[in-house]
Symmetry: C2
Subunit: 510 residues, 2 copies
């Protein structure tokens, strides 16, 4: 009798979770539509639509009935006894979500949704006009609202407001821990970068100087996304200012990328990156849609998937063995003058530069460290928004040795802060670390993987990821998943090995 | 004190109305996305999204608080005293909507949303494969569900189930009344058609035989939509199987059309039709968005706007004086052999044919009459869904003298029934009648309108429609609006005058 009664409570909880997700994924479509399809004048009312939907979503998510059902399930050994069972994972994560949601008043949720929506447009416009002062009042409102939000959540003894926000993106992650990982990583990267910058040998840059028609680039990157395993019957690829992947559920995953005539490399990298996110989303199980078991582990793990396809695969010599002749088929004479070395080398040029999403693998994490330091200061009240451009520019000089000519290409280059997403950036670097560690393990288990890439076969890696990572949903937390999959704790060694192994030969270093 | 208290109640009601609309318009985006953007595999879950959103929408719309607020407002003379005031119109229509909504159980609403969503895909597939038996079980479920829905609403003494459904599309409209209008109209049309079909003089059909590249057609119809006044900063134009206009609010209106290489006429007609709907939606006032004063009167009035731009404008000699040379600019040599007479005549060929959305103005209403008769029979249980194809084909033979070769081009050609929209079709013919009557009035007040069309100027007509029809929202019901605008009750005379005046000369009739 107890089992049946409790099972009914579990089923009720799952039903509520799925209903909440149906509305949540509706909002994903609204968000995608805003970036990709919505006419300009639609923006003001779209903010209303988000505000009302967010409020309803929050009301549904904080129904006290959920708390009662969770209490009942948590005291039932059949449900939570085996901690890695589907039901235990669902209960653990639903409890986490419920506790988070109930700490926020509805008014704050609605206010944040509206502010984030309006602020994104203000950002896009201010960025277009390189006018930080136009964006400044919006970012000030966002920081103030997020400080209030952090207060609602609270943080652990010795922690800080940033921790409270990061919990939404990378559960369990604190600013202090991130700092501990970032400080030594920065030293190792700096040392490698110094060697690279000091070398007289450099790969040819011809690949990055060639102009290729955007329409052909579109067809080309679409074929790459398809080849590596993104299912176009369960997804789309469109264009937007800032590339993103919006996964509403495994059968409807929306990617965007962007094109510049003289930078096919960016289009390839962005597309493989977003397709990596998309392949993760498509690899979640439809039966679990709307429950934690059907959701990605964390943004760090999500990013490990996008980075793997972008970097471990997409910048490998093996990948270019397939992609180089394929590219010639798409672009014909326009690429006739490029040698294999031009292309493989060109995809791996290391050059400290302004734009994070165009950064190479070696400098990328520096961009993240700068953002992390600044948002931590903003949240602690140790940096005024008005002083952000100066603080930004100063760090770019120090970490990457470059001058920032405009705020549009400086502190306004990313969409994240305008979306009220503070605490998010470090997940990119965590993703790079997880990616390298997962890929080393996959290589151990599929020793001929590079040969496969060389003939355009990516199915073995995709299946390995499906099985070892995607199909688990949120069964494990990030750190635990890393140990289950690789047998080891997260370490920066695999990423450094990956970079050294590839870049030293290209730059003629011992 | 009373005034203040009641005003607060009115404000609360408007706030709730706006919130409900924010969620409702979110569902419009979901619907548009499904037709235009969604990847194939997304369909199953989209039905879940619709079902949950519909249920929430229904719960919000039937909150007893709305009933209490309505009661309070209805007893306040300041609000409802002047029957054509904004507040009185809002209260009248909110009462109508609330009473309708509270008659339906949530389960039925959710079931209908889910069924309609799945059924639309089944229809699209069955239509693609010309397999009525694949669609039949879906339509059977829809008819059964709509009969149940009609029972919930009820109908007036002497009425029938169809009336209960039509109320959603054309408030106050009954099958008996429709029949009374349709029977004599059919006779007059039949008589004109007989003369036309018997005439030896016929316009040239060259315009309808010419193949024009689809990409150029797209640019061309886009420029037409823009020229007649559709604002692309507040809307989009895309493609779908069945052209439609999805208006989420006046600043975000989504049109679709379709293209065939050998039928630019269809693309022009469809685009002007949908742009006519779109111009109406864009002409509603933003301040009233989410309230009845910011919504269209009825589908019949909506259709009057689409038909006016498609027919009264888009098939007029004056319009082609501007459009003919414009077309030559877009298509160049491909249209060099077409004379003005080929084009104007070709846009007005009368030819009984299979497809409603491609029908000419003279035969169009016959298509509607057939659908109306059949859906009335289906709802009364006097026709089994299995017998629909036969009944359809028989009427096409009788009314239009043509054989129906396939169900895909027969009873499966329209999306409406698959969307559970029964009671909808007659609004198309009502629209034709209103359109002709409004246009005659506009012509009285803007005597040089045709000269303006000839030089590509459509602003005076658009402004007249904005002022006399669009800006009123639901201030008046359809019949009342007709009298306010034209000073007369709805009559079929203006439509017959319009047809006779144009077609007799083209067909060499006295």
């Amino acid at each position: 009798m107890t089992t049946i009664a409790t099972s009914t409570e579990y089923d009720q909880l799952i039903k509520i979770s799925k209903d909440v997700a149906a509305l949540g994924t509706t909002m994903s479509i609204l968000g995608w539509d805003r970036e990709v399809m919505m006419p300009k004048k639609g923006n003001e009312y779209r903010a209303e639509q988000f505000a009302v939907s967010s409020r309803i979503l929050h009301e549904l998510s904080t129904d006290t009935k959920i708390g009662d059902l969770l209490d009942a399930c948590e005291s039932d050994g059949d449900i939570v006894g085996d901690q890695t069972s589907e039901s235990a994972a669902n209960i653990r994560e639903l409890r986490h979500e419920y506790d988070r949601a109930t700490k926020l008043p509805s008014t704050l949720v609605e206010e944040e949704a509206k502010l984030a929506s309006l602020s994104q447009s203000a950002w896009a416009e201010a960025r277009g006009e390189n006018d930080f002062t136009a964006f400044q009042p919006w970012l000030e409102k966002i920081v103030a609202l997020l400080q209030q939000k952090a207060e609602c959540f609270g943080w652990a003894e010795g922690g800080e407001p940033w921790d409270a926000l990061a919990e939404d993106y990378e559960p369990g992650c604190t600013a202090a821990q991130v700092s501990e990982v970032f400080t030594p990583l920065r030293k190792k990267l700096q040392s490698l970068l110094d060697e690279i910058m000091g070398s007289d040998t450099k790969p040819s840059n011809k690949f990055n100087e060639i102009a290729l028609p955007v329409e052909q680039q579109k067809a080309f990157v679409r074929s790459i996304a398809s080849q590596i395993g993104f299912d176009f019957e369960a997804g789309r690829l469109d264009e937007s200012t800032h590339p993103f992947c919006s996964g509403t559920h495994c059968n409807d995953v929306r990617l965007t990328t962007r094109f510049h005539e003289n930078n096919v490399n960016d289009a390839i990298g962005s597309t493989m990156h977003e397709a990596g996110h998309g392949i993760y989303e498509q690899g979640l199980l439809y039966d679990h849609v709307g429950t934690p078991m059907g959701r990605a582990v964390s943004l760090g793990i999500h990013e490990s998937q996008s980075r793997m396809w972008e970097n471990q695969v997409g910048r490998s010599e093996a990948f270019w063995k397939w992609c180089y002749p394929t590219m010639k088929e798409f672009f014909g004479d326009a690429t006739a003058s490029l040698s294999f070395e031009d292309v493989y080398g060109g995809a791996n040029i290391v050059r400290p530069d302004l734009i994070r999403v165009e950064a190479d693998e070696a400098t990328y994490n520096m961009h993240i460290m700068i953002r992390f330091e600044l948002e931590r200061l903003l949240m602690n009240g140790d940096l005024a928004v008005a002083d952000l451009p100066e603080a930004w520019n100063q760090r770019y000089k120090e970490y990457l040795g470059i001058e920032v000519p405009t705020d549009a290409n400086g502190c306004m280059q990313d969409i994240h802060w305008s979306m009220a997403a503070i605490g998010y950036f470090p997940t990119y670097t965590l993703g790079n670390l997880y990616s390298a560690q997962f890929f080393e393990k996959a290589m151990e288990e599929i020793p001929d993987m590079y040969e496969q890439f060389g003939s355009g076969e990516f199915g073995a890696l995709k299946s390995w990821l499906n099985e070892n990572i995607h199909s688990h949903g949120k069964r494990y937390r990030a750190a635990e998943l890393c140990e289950v999959v690789t047998g080891k704790e997260l370490s920066s060694d695999p990423l450094m090995r990956h970079l050294e192994h590839k870049l030293r030969p290209l730059y003629g270093l011992a």
